[in-house]
Symmetry: C3
Subunit: 269 residues, 3 copies
């Protein structure tokens, strides 16, 4: 089935109210830097965060959660064990789960962990261009390619990674690129201020998880989440042109944004 841009945006119009109505529990094993922002972003968009990240609890909750986020930003030893436990349980119980392989390629512990997790059938993998390239085996990660090149450079690795893992791949950048290995969707929403606050990518990973919790079509869920999130950032930047204010306004906008705004303002290609 070929879907048009209107189809994708109408998915957002359906999924966003469904997140708010059902308030899915999104379990997060995430980094110590942005866990507060990630939890607040989930609450703002209408989901229920549960940052349960210790062994013996993480796997248990992952069986019943609406969705799971595993973010490798600061992977302590205890968290690494809990991440593998939770991803295995999510896989087993068919809980959709999002892998955010922060810093993969550049640092050894998380690179090995990301590769193991990528083999546990994540539903969505979200990262910047250099992370997706590194996880797909192209390049060493690091500070990444120039922003103007990043979508084109990451396209082939993203398609390959989708095909090898079975996951939807969401590459974040000035233009986002999302693919299931067959269809490729680009989203040109967002604002440069996203790069001036910590946790913008982490929170997007969580919002993707919230959307994946309420729909079986994970490509549509990832596209809807990225569009809604980028547009919320545009609204936030209207009233806040500095990073401290922008982070606050982004949470406000995530709580205010509705489906029709996404349909009207989504810039897909």
């Amino acid at each position: 089935m070929m879907r048009t841009h209107v189809d994708w945006l109408q998915s957002a119009d359906e999924l966003l109210p469904r997140v708010r109505e059902t308030q899915p529990l999104v379990q997060c094993l995430t980094n110590s830097v942005t866990t507060n922002f990630v939890a607040n972003a989930l609450l703002a968009v209408g989901a229920s965060p549960a940052m349960v990240d210790i062994p013996e609890e993480a796997g248990l909750l992952a069986r019943s959660a609406g969705a799971l986020l595993v973010n490798l930003g600061t992977p302590s030893g205890e968290q690494r064990e809990a991440m593998l436990e939770a991803a295995t349980a999510a896989n087993d119980a068919a809980t959709p789960w999002v892998l955010d392989p922060v810093g993969v390629g550049a640092l050894p512990i998380r690179t090995e962990l990301a590769q193991r997790l990528a083999g546990l059938r994540p539903t969505v993998i979200r990262g910047n261009a250099s992370e997706i390239r590194a996880l797909a085996g192209h390049g060493a990660g690091g500070k990444g390619v120039d922003a103007s090149d990043e979508v084109d450079d990451a396209r082939s690795p993203a398609v390959e990674l989708a095909q090898s893992t079975g996951a939807v791949i969401a590459v974040s950048g000035a233009v986002d690129l999302i693919t299931d290995g067959h269809t490729v969707v680009r989203i040109a929403n967002g604002d440069p201020l996203f790069t001036k606050i910590t946790g913008a990518g982490c929170a997007l990973g969580a919002v993707i998880a919230a959307f994946a919790a309420v729909g079986d079509d994970y490509l549509a869920a990832a596209v809807a989440a990225c569009a809604a999130y980028g547009i919320a950032g545009e609204f936030a930047a209207h009233g806040a042109d500095r990073p401290g204010s922008f982070a606050v306004a982004l949470l406000d906008s995530l709580s205010a944004i509705d489906g029709p705004a996404v349909v009207e303002r989504g810039r897909l290609s």
Copy 2:
């Protein structure tokens, strides 16, 4: 001694300036999600936070701290050891301490830990209705009962838990219920936005600890803290109707609120 609503609110009018004058050191062993917000809430209300949560330091500080908060939101192995050490030391040194049994009943590691900690004579236990019910042995915790029922459903478990542990029990919800096992006080202050930010309950636990540090009547301290905190939330919601702004405004309001405002606006029953 039967106390009237006016008596309770006048306690707040005495305790709040005492927190600001004496700036009690409130030691917190709390979760990684909201530790920043908890520390800022304590500073805003006038206390001195000290987030000392490692073994060999936690117990030492708990002996000399003004009060201690133990919050089970993300209890890593190292933190669990430090929590038991700190609670034991607080108990031994007569340091008032608050237990916030986040997620008890729903998850096994923290459930066992909460039960052990509840046996170490906490001064106050603060939780939502489902957590208090679970800790009292009624029900399995989880996402909790419907908000409209919660006060009535939690009343008997709260009274039982107060009697079995010797603690003051503070049940947070649309209406807060506070009891020492004999007297029951309800407080109808607050705002629905408290449920749209992470850490609203965690920060309340810390504020209760700050009030407990400056007064020997812990029921009065808990009532005063809950009233002041709820009213600060009402002021915050006046100027901020979205969650990002509300969290910022709540810290501002906690630094601005004074005793007369609590006396005037407190809604006890």
Copy 3:
């Protein structure tokens, strides 16, 4: 070479745009309370934060980072190991690194750790007066001396500590005092609201690291960072007189401040 106040401020005028142009990677091993604020402060001032704090990764990154921050606020066992690894690597690779010995003197684990780290040739040590006194062997730390005395009380210990460690010492207070063991510079910028938010000192440590990453004269870098940071706080306090708003405005001001504003408003003595 004797430098005048104008010289110091002109250093700030050179270093601040250099941070923004080169966006140095500042690796942080910091506490769980303020890691989000520290990362956002680095982004606001123009640097690239990387909160890599686990063994086997921390040392590796410290070899190539622009600068390193080691903050002892909540030193878990795993972090302590990573801190020693990172400081050793920074020392070996000539990466400038800042030690922030939070709570040293008052608590045993971090006191021993701080002493070991102080022996690994930190480039800058930043703390309040009681921490610098404790690390220099004068007094036991704790809540510290009275604000009006602190600069004078810390002057001799700071000079001694600079001479024994080879580090530039930055003592934070109502007036900051910075010394390399020979020259002593005082900076009277800042605002009392810095003491009403958590992480103001932690973020200053990180900003010093960012400035140290772009200049070889570490005394000049520390003076420039403290002046710019204090002046950003003054701008922030103009529009925000309560702590929640002030923290947001401080990030905004850090992103807005420029060299000429530092030259114009710097109050050195």
